[in-house]
């Protein structure tokens, strides 16, 4: 668990994060309960596959972003991080976004090669075709998202 421990910790930020996690528990419970109700009483064709999991991921992430912004923990975390790290948090976020884009592209490329191709030659062709297409989509998308998050988390600090 050493990966999750930063060198310096601001007790206010830790308290605020714990408060958000407590609230998130209730949000996730509510979403699961709602999902059960939807599955029990309604037969919605679109509400199948990974939709419930994606809903939980999206809603909880959005909730964390909004509450974190309200409690002003992002700018404080950035300040604490930049104080002790050689690489600024903004740069780290952009690097992670780029790496995430590459990882997603490789995943989709591999998935296409395994599921849809017939033979080695077609597998290689599908892999590079889908991976290149995904790279063109996901790297700008994730870097753009990282930029938006950066602006969003900086805005309150500027106030």
């Amino acid at each position: 668990m050493r990966w999750f421990q930063s060198k310096l910790k601001d007790e206010r930020v830790e308290q605020a994060k714990n408060q958000i996690y407590r609230e998130l528990f209730v949000v996730v419970m509510g979403l699961c309960f709602l999902s059960i109700l939807v599955k029990q009483f309604m037969e919605i064709e679109a509400y199948s596959g990974m939709v419930p999991e994606l809903t939980i991921l999206f809603v909880t992430s959005l909730y964390y972003m909004i509450r974190g912004w309200q409690l002003d923990i992002f700018s404080a975390e950035r300040e604490m991080h930049d104080r002790s790290s050689h690489i600024p948090m903004t740069a780290k976020n952009f690097i992670c976004a780029g790496a995430g884009g590459v990882a997603i592209s490789l995943y989709f490329g591999t998935r296409s090669a395994i599921l849809y191709a017939e033979g080695t030659e077609q597998s290689i062709y599908y892999f590079f075709l889908v991976a290149a297409g995904s790279l063109m989509i996901y790297i700008p998308l994730l870097i753009g998202l990282a930029f938006l998050i950066d602006v969003f988390t900086k805005s309150r600090h500027a106030e």
């Binding site: 601001d10 007790e11 206010r12 404080a76 975390e77 300040e79 104080r83």
Partner: protein
């Protein structure tokens, strides 16, 4: 309620919020919120602030 004693002690020591925050290992925002009375620091943090500003707990955090 604003903690004017803390602000006065910090100014007396010629420290900015940022400098004090760096000395005691918290963010500048936290110092700002303590001075504004919007955050109740732990005893540990109060002691760190007192040590950094060469004051006692009574000097900085005791309300008459």
């Amino acid at each position: 309620m604003k903690n004017l004693k803390l602000k006065a002690a910090r100014v007396e020591k010629n420290l900015s919020q940022q400098e004090l925050a760096e000395q005691i290992g918290v963010s500048r925002q936290t110092i700002g919120l303590i001075e504004l009375g919007k955050y109740n620091p732990s005893l540990q943090l109060c002691l760190s602030i007192c040590r950094a500003l060469s004051k006692t707990l009574d000097d900085l955090f005791w309300e008459e």
